[in-house]
């Protein structure tokens, strides 16, 4: 399969405690044919650890897109977002975060979109068409 490149997207970080979800999401990303590095963190705390140590080597690239679950042990999605806002990372502004959750609770959607001003709230499961929507919104094709 011919791999294509999304402008500005080199690494995706999947933050989810459910390994089946991570497995499926990775498959969907591969199936979409986009050439991108995929990293997995099993909770918010692991995601923060990854972010703090990323960017120093090619093996741990800084993520351009984070898919974030809500319910996770140790540090859930909301707690992660609180900590993330405190991070001093010059690349932070280039990173997009999309909520990816099984919750269809209106309060969760409101919290993500209004309180944390995330660009997207995606209802699981991730599909190639939902993925295209994320790419379109977070990495628009710019005319040179």
């Amino acid at each position: 399969m011919k791999m294509k490149k999304v402008n500005g997207l080199n690494c995706i970080l999947l933050v989810d405690d459910d390994e089946i979800s991570n497995y499926l999401n990775r498959l969907v990303i591969e199936k979409s044919g986009v050439d991108v590095h995929v990293e997995v963190a099993l909770n918010g705390f692991a995601a923060l650890e990854y972010l703090n140590s990323s960017g120093q080597s090619d093996a741990r690239p800084e993520p351009d897109l984070i898919f974030l679950d809500i319910n996770m042990p140790r540090m859930n999605g909301w707690e992660f977002l609180n900590e993330y806002q405190k991070l001093k990372n010059k690349k932070k502004s280039d990173t997009s975060i999309a909520m990816l959750s099984s919750s269809i609770d209106i309060d969760d959607m409101d919290t993500a979109l209004k309180k944390y001003e995330l660009p997207l709230y995606i209802d699981k499961p991730l599909t190639t068409s939902k993925l295209e929507e994320v790419f379109g919104k977070c990495f628009p094709v710019r005319d040179n």
């Binding site: 099984s102 919750s103 499961p125």
Partner: protein
């Protein structure tokens, strides 16, 4: 002079009479008197017996009295208890007071006598005055207290409430009715009351108690009224026993907290349904799809069929879970605003225009209302009712749907009628229950959510929804939305 030897029974009954009376001979000479008469005239029996009754009538009424007396005596047709005269008597201390006198001639073969009843009109006025018996029969306890805190007057309810008799209370300090631990507070509060006397509720926001004769405490509510009479200040306390109310309040508090617990349990359940249960279902669906995609070449027809069934079942389960949480979330964060029902229905029909066109449906909308309601929920309500009318159409004719509204007592009643397949009479109430379906899944799709949603939406508006239907002829769904002023 001594009384005539009346027998013992007569004497005892005479003493038990609540009214003052005397007996005289036909000349007016007193031959008998009861204790009440002694009290009234303020002199002893032996000072009365033998004297002429005229002696005790104020001088200016002598003439009136004697003509009254002789008239009554000479008239053979006189009816007992009907001859009364208002006049003044002169008491033994010289004081003159207004009375009502009632004369009853008693005739026997041996002699004739007159029974004279004397009623102090002040007493009579008090006993018959509406205010007096209003106070006496009031459900509140009334206590009149003077400036020093002494009890001046109490009513019947006070005796009942505190278990004391009137005699035990009048003249006592009112502290006798206040639990010891509250006396200091009461003293301070009453000083403040006298410096700024006005009608008020006592101890607003705090629990007040009275103490009964048997030392038990009773929760009370007290209203205070300053009263001025003949230059003296009094306070009239009106006291209500709130034992029952307290009990009910306690019970209510308990029920409320139980309900709150149940409610938060339900909310948790809803969240679990909308998140935790959906996640594994989503994974199963995705994995089955992947499996079929990758392995379809290697699988036999039977295996593929079975996988398709698994997929259907899991998908249905996901829809049920989603439906359940949709149902639970309905009305959450909803706000009441002015809703133009005409506009809502117009938008809903516009959303459904493809189905409307495909089914060749004719929809008539009459003038609807603009009333306070939950906008999004009302929209969902019409969406469900109109979609149902389109979905359950008769195979023999094009759907005709009519939407109307009418002002009724206390609110608005709306109707959505169709000419569809109708609902069997015995199923009429079942249709509003969550996940209840009247048809097989292969006949009509859906999970049995729409009308349950409608019912909940109307419940959220404190309204009512019902259906009238005739099988194979059509249904009319009615709902009522109350308007609170």
């Amino acid at each position: 002079m001594n009384e005539k030897p009346y027998n013992v029974d007569f004497r005892l009954s005479a003493e038990a009479m609540p009214k003052a009376f005397v007996l005289t001979d036909q000349n007016g000479s007193i031959t008998f008197t009861n204790g009440q008469a002694e009290k009234l005239f303020l002199c002893k029996r032996n000072e009365l017996i033998g004297k002429n009754i005229q002696t005790f009538i104020s001088e200016k009424y002598h003439l009136i009295f004697s003509s009254f007396f002789s008239h009554i005596f000479n008239d053979k047709d006189v009816i007992p208890n009907t001859h009364t005269q208002r006049l003044f008597i002169s008491k033994c201390n010289g004081k003159e007071v207004p009375v009502k006198i009632e004369l009853n001639p008693l005739r026997s073969r041996k002699n004739s006598m007159v029974l004279i009843k004397i009623i102090e009109t002040d007493e009579e006025w008090k006993a018959n005055h509406p205010l007096h018996w209003i106070v006496e029969s009031a459900p509140n306890s009334f206590i009149l207290v003077d400036y020093s805190g002494q009890i001046v007057m109490v009513n019947k309810q006070t005796e009942r409430l505190f278990g004391y008799t009137r005699g035990e209370l009048i003249g006592k300090h009112m502290d006798i009715l206040i639990p010891e631990r509250l006396r200091a507070y009461h003293k301070k509060a009453s000083r403040e009351f006298y410096t700024n006397a006005q009608v008020r509720q006592m101890g607003v926001g705090r629990d007040l108690f009275g103490v009964k004769k048997d030392k038990t405490e009773v929760p009370v509510e007290i209203g205070l009224n300053p009263v001025k009479n003949n230059g003296a200040y009094y306070v009239l306390a009106s006291i209500i026993d709130i034992t029952e109310r307290k009990k009910i309040e306690d019970e209510l508090r308990l029920y409320t907290s139980r309900l709150e617990n149940k409610n938060s349990e339900l909310e948790q359940f809803t969240y679990i349904a909308s998140h935790d249960l959906r996640e594994p279902l989503n994974s199963i669906i995705s994995l089955i799809e992947l499996f079929i995609e990758n392995k379809s070449q290697e699988l036999g027809t039977d295996a593929l069929h079975q996988l398709a069934y698994i997929n259907d079942s899991v998908s249905r389960m996901r829809n049920l879970v989603t439906g359940l949480s949709d149902y639970a979330r309905l009305g959450k964060n909803a706000e009441i605003e002015r809703v133009d029902f005409n506009k809502v229905v117009e938008e809903v029909i516009s959303d459904l225009k493809k189905i409307v066109a495909d089914s060749k449906a004719k929809i008539t909308v009459e003038e609807l209302a603009v009333i306070p309601a939950m906008q999004i929920e009302i929209r969902l309500l019409f969406q469900n009712l109109i979609s149902n009318a389109l979905k359950y159409k008769s195979p023999n004719r094009d759907p005709e749907i009519k939407i109307s509204a009418q002002k009724v007592k206390g609110g608005w009643q709306f109707a959505v009628s169709d000419n569809g397949i109708g609902i069997p009479y015995d199923q009429k109430d079942k249709i509003f229950i969550l996940f209840q379906r009247l048809h097989g899944r292969n006949e009509y799709g859906g999970i049995g959510l729409g009308l349950a949603h409608c019912k909940k939406i109307i419940d959220l508006h404190d309204g009512k929804i019902w259906v009238e239907s005739e099988l194979n002829r059509g249904s009319i769904f009615y709902f009522f939305i109350p308007i609170n002023n």
